[in-house]
């Protein structure tokens, strides 16, 4: 095991290299481009023995990875934002055919409006496609989650593809000190890719993904649901094994100082790191706050959430995506349903969109609001927590009347 200074993208590449991916089909898109570049460097230098397919779109990228994996190769692709949106059609192809691809998604908002910067709207919009979703707090987690996800996704009871979400620029481009395991350790942990379920082999032919009648479709979707349900258990087992072999603890949901907290904020991604710092600061001021860091969004770990937060009175859920048309943010909606049997006041917060930072001030403001609600001093909260006052007036055009 060595220490390396890696940014989020490099950590993802490091994990893919250690997992010995054999077919790579990545299309560049900000802020993911360095993943496709670094993988290309590794292949050209011979450090990684893989077929590098320089695809002409993300739609093709995931198509190539899917059939390459069905033919027997551990395949890799990565994307962000609009690229993930373009892949949308194939996401269902991959998950419906039970192809366990692990794909880093560098979270960036989807146009319009055009943005280059971080928000979760791209991956959250794909929550119904049957892919698992893991959100990283820091660069170490990017590496560790990617490594463990290969084992989880390829497990015979799961066979479900997974996105490892990396906050755009905040994690993808931020250098952090990362513990990197050795190739031998990872070989022992992951092993070679083993074809399970259906595959393409002329010596053992089958026709995959042909038209399926209504009599069978529901059952196949149910099989996917069972895979997702099994995933929770498998994630726990794999994370436990990872802790014993590599010494680092991963979570499905991490409660940081939530046990005796008066109010808790639930959030995903890099802002949870800032939130931990805010929790420490406010605790030193005598305010009993806590942060629940949700790592696994799909499958949605409702039992874990109930166990962690069932005894709270006031909770805030931070959505780094707009959830347009919904009553509140998407993560808030799902957390609310998970906790519906309890008498908890759950508030939806939306912010950090389109690259807007979620600094300590914003998080402190949220905690203060939640505390006021808990103390019955207030009843309202600011859903769009970092909204500017002149929201409806930021653009003007001049016309000749």
């Amino acid at each position: 095991m060595t220490y390396k200074m890696l940014d989020g993208n490099s950590a993802a590449v490091e994990a893919m290299k250690l997992a010995k991916v054999q077919v790579i089909s990545a299309y560049p898109i900000t802020p993911q481009s360095s993943i496709s570049e670094k993988l290309s460097d590794l292949v050209e230098s011979g450090e990684l023995k893989a077929e590098y397919i320089r695809v002409e779109s993300e739609h093709t990228a995931l198509s190539v990875a899917t059939t390459a994996q069905l033919t027997g190769a551990r395949s890799a692709t990565a994307t962000a934002s609009n690229g993930l949106a373009l892949m949308h059609e194939i996401l269902s192809m991959t998950s419906g055919n039970r192809v366990p691809i692990v794909m880093p998604v560098v979270n960036r908002g989807i146009a319009a409006p055009w943005t280059l910067w971080c928000e979760h709207g791209d991956s959250i919009a794909q929550r119904d496609t049957g892919w698992m979703q893991f959100y990283s707090q820091n660069v170490q987690e990017v590496l560790d989650l990617t490594l463990t996800t290969y084992k989880i996704a390829e497990h015979g009871d799961v066979l479900t593809p997974a996105m490892v979400c990396i906050d755009g620029f905040f994690l993808s481009h931020s250098l952090q000190k990362v513990k990197v395991p050795t190739q031998e350790e990872v070989d022992k942990f992951l092993g070679k890719y083993v074809l399970k379920n259906t595959y393409l082999d002329p010596s053992d032919p089958m026709f995959i993904c042909n038209l399926t009648p209504p009599e069978d479709f529901t059952e196949m979707r149910y099989q996917q649901k069972v895979g997702m349900d099994n995933a929770i258990k498998v994630i726990e087992e794999v994370q436990k094994e990872f802790l014993s072999k590599f010494g680092r603890k991963l979570h499905i949901i991490e409660g940081y100082k939530t046990d005796d907290a008066d109010v808790v904020l639930l959030a995903m991604g890099s802002m949870t790191g800032t939130a931990k710092y805010v929790v420490n600061k406010m605790r030193s001021q005598g305010k009993k706050v806590g942060i629940a860091k949700l790592t696994v969004f799909r499958p949605f770990p409702f039992e874990h959430i109930k166990n962690l937060l069932g005894d709270k009175k006031v909770i805030g859920v931070f959505d780094r995506s707009a959830g347009l048309g919904g009553q509140g943010g998407p993560v808030w909606s799902e957390v609310s349903v998970a906790l519906k049997e309890f008498d908890i006041d759950i508030r939806s917060y939306i912010g950090g969109l389109g690259g807007r930072d979620v600094p300590a001030d914003t998080i402190e403001k949220i905690f203060d609001e939640l505390l006021s609600i808990q103390n019955r001093e207030k009843d309202t909260h600011t859903q769009w927590i970092d909204l500017k006052k002149n929201a409806m007036e930021i653009r003007e055009v001049i016309k000749h009347v």
Binding site: H59, S63, T67, L70, A73, E89, M93
Partner: protein
């Protein structure tokens, strides 16, 4: 492996629910006769999906994958990448798509494969419309043809798929016609042995969409070539060979009058099409001959 519940001479079931007289059915059988067992096929949703089958039944003895309409070439490239990883150079990767899934929505993926020189055998069976979804016009529908989205006749000429392939300078591509299956099979064999992308564009007359008696499929395919509407040629390592030049172009009226999809053409339009076809043919042959130099 397949649970074989049906006796066949070859790799394709005899009972495939393609229309009676379907040109595509003949294309698939002739293709599989050449390619054999060590083939993996990618079939998009469309008429060729009849061979992928329904439910747990299939009409092919080889392994295959039914992908999306626009990514047959991309899925094939993925299979080839997987086979490369396993060191398998013998297995043929076949993408078997129609005109809609090739020249329209599938063109980007195909262009990518051709640029990267991925070793994929791409057969485009051209029934000149989106037949499986109900005879809608595609960019391979010929001028004046009536489809459900060009009911009074298509106003523009069709895309030239082979010229697009030649622009990518792939090692082998060819046009073919099912009225000459031996020529087609020779081309499939050449394509199979090509170390890189290969494309065969074969016209597949469709009795349902072109509206003619099913028995005339071969007759119509032959007339298409004899009237100069469909030119048979090969492009091999930069060299063009014109496989057949009719001594005398037959009048296109012989071709048009057999098909209901040209029924609405006025005599002026037929005259216009005849002139255009003759001129186009002559210019095209000159161009092809010039390209070989």
């Amino acid at each position: 492996m397949y649970n074989i519940q049906h006796d066949t001479k070859d790799l394709v079931s005899h009972g495939v629910p393609a229309c009676a007289g379907c040109g595509l059915e003949l294309v698939m059988r002739k293709t599989m006769d050449v390619l054999g067992e060590k083939t993996i096929v990618v079939i998009p949703p469309g008429c060729s999906a009849l061979f992928s089958g329904f439910g747990d039944e299939t009409a092919l003895k080889i392994p295959g994958f039914q992908g999306n309409l626009e990514n047959s070439a991309a899925l094939a490239a993925g299979i080839r990448a997987g086979l490369n990883v396993k060191g398998d150079k013998e297995t043929t990767v076949l993408a078997f798509a129609g005109d809609g899934g090739t020249v329209d929505i599938g063109l980007q993926a195909l262009s990518g494969v051709m640029e990267r020189k991925d070793r994929v055998l791409y057969i485009c069976y051209d029934n000149e419309a989106y037949m499986n979804t109900g005879i809608q016009g595609s960019s391979s529908t010929p001028l004046f043809a009536s489809t459900t989205t060009t009911p009074t006749g298509k106003k523009t000429n069709r895309k030239d798929l082979l010229q697009i392939a030649i622009a990518h300078e792939i090692p082998y591509c060819a046009s073919a016609s099912i009225h000459n299956p031996r020529d087609f099979q020779k081309k499939v064999k050449k394509a199979k042995e090509t170390n890189g992308p290969s494309l065969i564009h074969i016209q597949a007359p469709c009795p349902t969409g072109w509206r003619y008696e099913p028995s005339k499929t071969i007759e119509i395919a032959k007339l298409s070539v004899e009237t100069g509407l469909w030119v048979l040629y090969e492009y091999e390592e930069g060299k063009i060979t014109i496989n057949y030049k009719p001594k005398q172009l037959k009048p296109i009226e012989e071709y048009l009058k057999l098909q209901g999809r040209f029924k609405r053409m006025t005599p002026e339009e037929i005259g216009q099409l005849q002139e255009e076809t003759t001129n186009r043919y002559e210019r095209y042959i000159k161009k092809l001959e010039g390209m070989s130099l």
